[in-house]
Subunit: 404 residues, 2 copies
Amino acid sequence: MITKLEDILSTNARGMKKSVIRELLKLTAKPEIISFAGGLPSPKSFPVEDLKEIIYEVMENEPKIALQYSATEGDQILKKELVKHSIKEGMQVNEDNILITTASQQGLDLVAKIFIDRGDKVIVELPSYVGGLGAFNAYGADMIGVPQDEEGMSATVLRQKLLELKSRGEKPKFIYIVPDFQNPAGMTMSLKRRKEIIEISHEFNVLILEDSPYRELRFEGKPVPSIYSLDDQNQIILLGTFSKILAPGFRIGWVLAHPDIINKLVVAKQSTDLCSPAFSQRILGRFLEKGYLEKNIEKIKKMYHKKRDLMVESFEKYMPKGVRWTTPEGGLFLLVTVPDYIDTDKLFERALKYNVAFVIGSAFYCDNSGHNTMRINFSYPSEEQIKIGVPHLAKAIKEYPKKK
Amino acid sequence: MITKLEDILSTNARGMKKSVIRELLKLTAKPEIISFAGGLPSPKSFPVEDLKEIIYEVMENEPKIALQYSATEGDQILKKELVKHSIKEGMQVNEDNILITTASQQGLDLVAKIFIDRGDKVIVELPSYVGGLGAFNAYGADMIGVPQDEEGMSATVLRQKLLELKSRGEKPKFIYIVPDFQNPAGMTMSLKRRKEIIEISHEFNVLILEDSPYRELRFEGKPVPSIYSLDDQNQIILLGTFSKILAPGFRIGWVLAHPDIINKLVVAKQSTDLCSPAFSQRILGRFLEKGYLEKNIEKIKKMYHKKRDLMVESFEKYMPKGVRWTTPEGGLFLLVTVPDYIDTDKLFERALKYNVAFVIGSAFYCDNSGHNTMRINFSYPSEEQIKIGVPHLAKAIKEYPKKK
C-alpha cells in the first residue's frame, strides 16, 4: 500500500478495539483447552431434526421467498410469530413495534448508530456485556459505569450520576441494561429495582436499552417481567435474539420499540445490510409457527440447569477460600471474584498452562476495573469438561503468588 | 414517548434518508404493477434443486458448524472457495485478503465506518449506486460526483476534482466505482480507463473502492479485468456478493483487500454483527466446492441475455424520438434518458397509472441532477411483463405535457 492506513482512518476507527473475547477464543481454539471462555450455546442444544423438517418444507414450498431479499423491516411470518411470542411474555406490541435484525449485535450497532455522536454519554452497568461496550465505543460513546448490587444496577448511584450530568447540562443518550442472567454477572435485576430504574428514566427523560438474550432460559426461581413490559411511556428499546434459544448460525434477532424509533432504525438498517437473511427468517418463522421453539427452550433449560449445578458444585468442592461466585437462576454465565492480589489478566496465562480458559473480568468494565473477576461459561463445555476444568482452574488460583 | 426523538438523534441519523428504492418497492408491490424498479434477481434464477442437495448434506453432516457462530473473518470452507474463485478471475489473493460480509451492503457500511468522519470527501460516479451513496451518507460523507463518458468515470474530471481538493489541502477518503454493468448506468468501464484511474489513484495516493456485484454476469462482449487485478499497489478494496449470482436471501458477500485493511474491517464487523450467518456461509462454501456456482452463472447469463434483448427491442419498437438508453453487455439494468422537459419524478406517478414502475434517476445522482433519467431493471420482470410494460411506459412518456 502507498497509503498509510493510520493517516486515513476515521476517528472512531482509531478508537476501536479488537473484541477481547473474540481474540481469546482464538487462543483457546486448541482441542486440548477446556474453554469456559466463549458465550457459545451447547451444540447439543441445536434442534437439528426439527430444523431439518422445517428447512425441507421451506425449500419445497416457498424457496422463492426464502432466497429473495426480504423487506428491511423483516419477514412477515417471522414478525407475526414474534408478536405472539412477545405478547406471551407480557409485552403489548404489534408488528409496527418490531424490526428484525442480523442478531442482537446489529440491534446494538443500529441503536448506537442512530443515537450516538462522538463524546455522547451512555450509562452502562459495571460490569456489562463486552459486545455492547464495543458497539457504543465504535461510535465514540463516553461510557459511565454504574455498579450493581444484589438487586442489579444501583438506583442510588444511577440517580447520582444523572444528577451530576444534569448539573453540567448533560444527559446520557440511553441507559444500557442486561437485566436477566446478566452477561457477565449472571444476576437478575429485581422487580423492585426495575420499577425504580424506570421511574428514574421518566424523571430524567432518558431511554433504556434493555438487552435480553437469555430471558427465556430461566431454569429456577420466579420470572421477573421485562423492563419493556413494565414501562408505560414507550421509553424502552428491547433487544431479543435467537442465538441462545435456537442457534446463532442464523444471525437473527429483533428490536421492540415505539414505531418512531423502529422507523429510524429501519432507515439506518437500509444502508447497513439492506435486510437480514430471508432464508434464516423464513425458516425461523415456520419453526415458531409449529411451536417448536417452546419445546427447544424446555430442552435447553434442563441441559443448562444440570451444567450450572455441576459447575457450582465443582466450584464449592475445589475453590480455595476467598473465591466467590454468583449462582445464576438462568442463562449461560457466572461471575467469579478472586482475592484482590490476583490479577485475572495474569491468571489467564497461568490457567492456559493447565489447559483451561475463561474471560478476564476487566473486559466487561468500562472503567477498566474488575481485574479480580472472571466470567465463567457453563453452556458450551461438556459435563466431563466442567468436572476436569474446575479443579485445574482452582489449582492455577491457589498457585498464584501472594503479595509479599 | 416522553422523549422527543429529534432531540436525541445523532447528527448522522438526522441526515439519513429513507432509501428511495426501498420506498418505491412498497408502492410497486401491488400485483397489477409491472415493476422495472427493483434490482431483484429473477426468482427463476435460483438453483433450488442444487441448493436442496447441498442444504440437506450440510444438515446431515455438519449441522453443529452451520448452526454455531462463525469466526468474524468468515467460514474457512467459504473463504477457501472464494480464494479459488478470485484467482480464476485474475486476482492474486489468499485467505488473509478476504472478509466475509453480510452481503456487499455491509461491505459498503464497514468501509464507510472505518474511513469516514463527518464531512470527509468521497468521490462517486454520476450516477452511482444508491445503496453506496446511502452508506456513505450515513457517516456524514461529503460526496463529490464525477460524470461518466462512454468509457466510464471521466479521468479528466477526476484529476481536476482531486487537484481542486489538493489545492485546499484536502483529499478524498476513497473513489467509489461500480465498473462492471454499472448500477444504474449499465455501462462497463474500459480497460484503458481503469488503468488511467489506477494511475491517478497512485498519483494522489487515494484508495479505490471497487463494487462489483454483477461482474460475473457478462452475456456478451469481452471481459475486462477487475480494477483490483490491475493494481500493483494494494490500493483497491473490492466488494463481491452472491446476491445476483446465486440468491440474496443468504446475505453473503465478501471484501478483498490488503490484510491491514481487512484487519480493520474485522474489528469494525465484530461490533456490527459479530459474524455473518454461519448457516448461509457453510451452504455457499459447499455449493462452490461442488462447482455449482459456475453452472448457475451460465444459466443466469442466458436468462438475462434474452431479457435484455427483449427489453432493448421493445424500447426500439415503442419509445418516441428523443428517448435514449444504454445497452449493457451484462448485469441487470439499463439507464434511460428522456428529453429535458420530462422530470422522471413526475413521470413516475404517470407511469404508475399505467401500472408500470421504474426508479427515478435523481436517486443515483449525489448532486441531485439526473431528473431526466430513470433506471430500468430487466432481471426481475418476466418476458411477458417486459412486452406489456414497455409500451405502457412509452405511452406515459408520450403523454407527458411538453413545456409551452
